[in-house]
C-alpha cells in the first residue's frame, strides 16, 4: 500500500486547513521596515565617509593600493630634483667659466700689449735693488718689504769679494757672447703681441737690455744707475710709448667690433675713424 494512500485521511485534514492570509497592513509594515533599513544603511555610509575625511595627505594617499610606494616615490623625486639642480648649475658654472676665460683672455691681451716684456733675471735683480730708495704707496709697500730681503741677498751675491773679482773678470768675456743670445730671448712670442706692437716692444727691450750689460760689464759691480733712482727721461719715454701702443690697440679693437656689427653701414664710420 502506498504511503500517500495510507495517510489519505490525515492528508485531507491538513490540506483542508483554513489558509492563513497576511494582514492588510503587511505590505505597509514591510515597506516601513525596508525604509528604516535603507536609512540606517545611508547613515552608516555617511558615517564612514565622515570618518574617511582625514587630513589632506590622508585623503590623498588613502586610496592608494600600495602605500609603501609613497616614500619610495618621494625619494626618487628628490634625487631627480637634486640631479637636475646640479646639472643646471654645472651648465651655468661652465658658462661662467667660459665668460671669465674670455674676459681674462681679453684683459691678458691688453696687459701683454701694455706691459713691457720681462727680459731676464738680471733685470729683476736691478729692480729689486732700486726699490729701497723709491717712494712707495699702498700695497706696494708690503711687496717691497719682501723684495728688500731678496735685494739684500742679491746685494750679498752681487757685491764682489776680493777672491771673486778675479773669477768674474774671466766670466765677463763669456757674458759678451751671451748678449746676443739674451737679445733673442727678449723677443715676445708672436701669438701674444700684435704685429704693430711687436716691433716697438722689441726695439724698446733691446735698447734697455743693451744698456744693462754695459753697466754690469764695466767693473763687474752693479752700475750706479741700478743702485740709485732710474732716469726720469727714460721712464717718461717708456710711458709715452705704452700710451701710444694702448691707443693703437683700442682703436684696432674698435675697428674689429665695427666689423662684427655691420660692414657696409659702418664703412663710413671706419673711414672717419681712420681719417682721425
Amino acid at each position: 500500500m502506498d504511503s500517500e494512500e495510507k495517510y489519505l485521511d490525515i492528508r485531507n485534514k491538513l490540506n483542508n486547513l483554513e489558509e492563513v492570509k497576511a494582514s492588510d497592513d503587511f505590505v505597509n509594515k514591510l515597506h516601513y521596515k525596508i525604509v528604516e533599513i535603507e536609512s540606517e544603511k545611508r547613515h552608516e555610509h555617511e558615517k564612514r565617509f565622515d570618518e574617511g575625511r582625514g587630513g589632506f595627505l590622508r585623503n590623498l594617499f588613502s586610496n592608494i593600493q600600495y602605500p609603501w610606494l609613497i616614500p619610495a616615490a618621494g625619494f626618487t623625486i628628490l634625487i631627480f630634483f637634486i640631479f637636475y639642480i646640479t646639472y643646471l648649475n654645472k651648465d651655468a658654472s661652465e658658462k661662467n667659466q667660459q665668460i671669465l676665460s674670455t674676459q681674462k683672455r681679453d684683459s691678458n691681451e691688453q696687459t701683454i700689449t701694455l706691459q713691457p716684456p720681462q727680459s731676464s733675471v738680471s733685470e729683476k735683480k736691478t729692480d729689486n735693488t732700486i726699490e729701497p730708495q723709491e717712494t712707495l704707496t699702498g700695497k706696494n709697500k708690503s711687496i717691497n718689504k719682501e723684495n728688500k730681503d731678496i735685494a739684500g741677498d742679491l746685494k750679498d751675491q752681487k757685491t764682489p769679494k776680493p777672491q771673486e773679482l778675479q773669477d768674474r773678470k774671466s766670466i765677463t768675456h763669456n757674458k759678451e757672447e751671451s748678449k746676443s743670445i739674451s737679445e733673442e730671448n727678449y723677443k715676445t712670442p708672436p701669438s701674444v703681441t700684435n704685429e704693430t706692437d711687436k716691433d716697438d716692444n722689441v726695439k724698446q727691450n733691446l735698447a734697455m737690455k743693451k744698456a744693462e750689460p754695459e753697466e754690469k760689464n764695466n767693473s763687474g759691480i752693479l752700475s750706479p744707475r741700478l743702485n740709485n733712482k732710474p732716469d726720469t727721461s727714460v721712464d717718461t719715454e717708456r710711458l709715452m710709448q705704452n700710451k701710444m701702443t694702448e691707443n693703437n690697440f683700442q682703436s684696432k679693437k674698435l675697428l674689429e667690433r665695427l666689423d662684427k656689427i655691420d660692414d657696409k653701414s659702418l664703412q663710413i664710420l671706419r673711414d672717419k675713424i681712420s681719417a682721425n
Binding site: 492528508r11 490540506n15 486547513l17 492563513v20 503587511f26 505590505v27 521596515k33 533599513i37
Partner: protein, 203 residues
C-alpha cells in the same frame, strides 16, 4: 505601494525567476510583485510552523527583508520558491530555538528525553483556545505544534504547502529518502496525537 496597473499586469505575467532577476537590477516593482505572490503562502507556512499569528507575520516580513538585502545571492540553479522557502524555514528554526530557550521547564520535564517524536502541551487551555475548542482545525494545529521540528517542517511543506519531494529535499537539505520517511513518520505521529486530543462528536 501604489503602482501603475498596466505595469503590474506585465509583471504578473513574469515568472518568479524573471522577477528576481529584474529585482537584482534594482527594479522595485519586481520586488513588490514577489511580495504580492508570496506573502500569503509564507505567512500561512510560518503560522503552521510557529502556531502564532503575530510571530508568523513578523517572520514573514523578516524573510522578505532578507530577500531584499541578499537578492544578489540568488543564482539560477534552483527555483526561486525553493530559495525563498529556505530563507523562511531558517528564520522559523531560529525563532523556535530561541523560544525553546526562553521556555521555563517544569519539574516533571527535568530528566526527560526531549528528542521524542512529539510533545503534548498542558491540559490547561488559553481563553482563545476554549473558543476554538469545538473546531477540528484548532486541534490539528495543536497536533502540528506538538510534533517534533524535524517532522513538522516536512509535513507542512508537503501536506499544507503542497511542494514535491525533490523541492522539500532541496529546502531542508536532506536526502530524498530521508524526506519521504520523515513525512510518513510525521503523519503517523500526527494521527496518533490527533486521536489523543480530538474526538469528533457523534451525531
Amino acid at each position: 505601494m501604489p503602482g501603475n496597473s498596466k505595469l503590474d499586469q506585465n509583471y504578473q505575467k513574469l515568472t518568479d525567476e524573471e522577477l528576481i532577476f529584474k529585482f537584482q537590477k534594482d527594479d522595485v516593482t519586481a520586488f513588490n510583485e514577489i511580495v504580492n505572490r508570496y506573502k500569503d503562502r509564507i505567512v500561512n507556512f510560518l503560522f503552521r510552523y510557529t502556531g502564532s499569528r503575530e510571530d508568523s507575520e513578523d517572520l514573514a516580513q523578516d524573510a522578505f527583508i532578507n530577500l531584499y538585502k541578499s537578492k544578489h545571492l540568488y543564482r539560477e540553479i534552483g527555483k526561486f520558491s525553493t530559495w525563498f522557502y529556505t530563507i523562511a524555514i531558517n528564520l522559523a528554526n531560529t525563532y523556535v530555538r530561541k523560544k525553546k530557550k526562553l521556555r521555563t521547564f517544569s519539574i516533571n520535564n527535568v530528566g526527560e528525553d526531549h528528542d521524542s517524536d512529539y510533545e503534548l502541551t498542558a491540559d490547561t487551555m488559553a481563553p482563545d483556545e476554549i473558543v476554538n475548542a469545538s473546531n477540528e482545525n484548532f486541534y490539528i494545529q495543536k497536533a502540528i505544534n506538538s510534533l517534533n521540528q524535524k517532522f513538522k517542517e516536512v509535513i507542512i511543506l508537503r501536506d499544507i504547502q503542497e511542494l514535491d519531494y525533490e523541492e522539500i529535499a532541496k529546502i531542508t537539505g536532506l536526502p530524498l529518502g530521508t524526506v519521504k520517511s520523515r513525512i510518513n513518520r510525521g503523519r503517523e505521529c500526527l494521527k496518533e496525537i490527533l486521536s489523543q486530543i480530538y474526538k469528533p462528536k457523534e451525531n
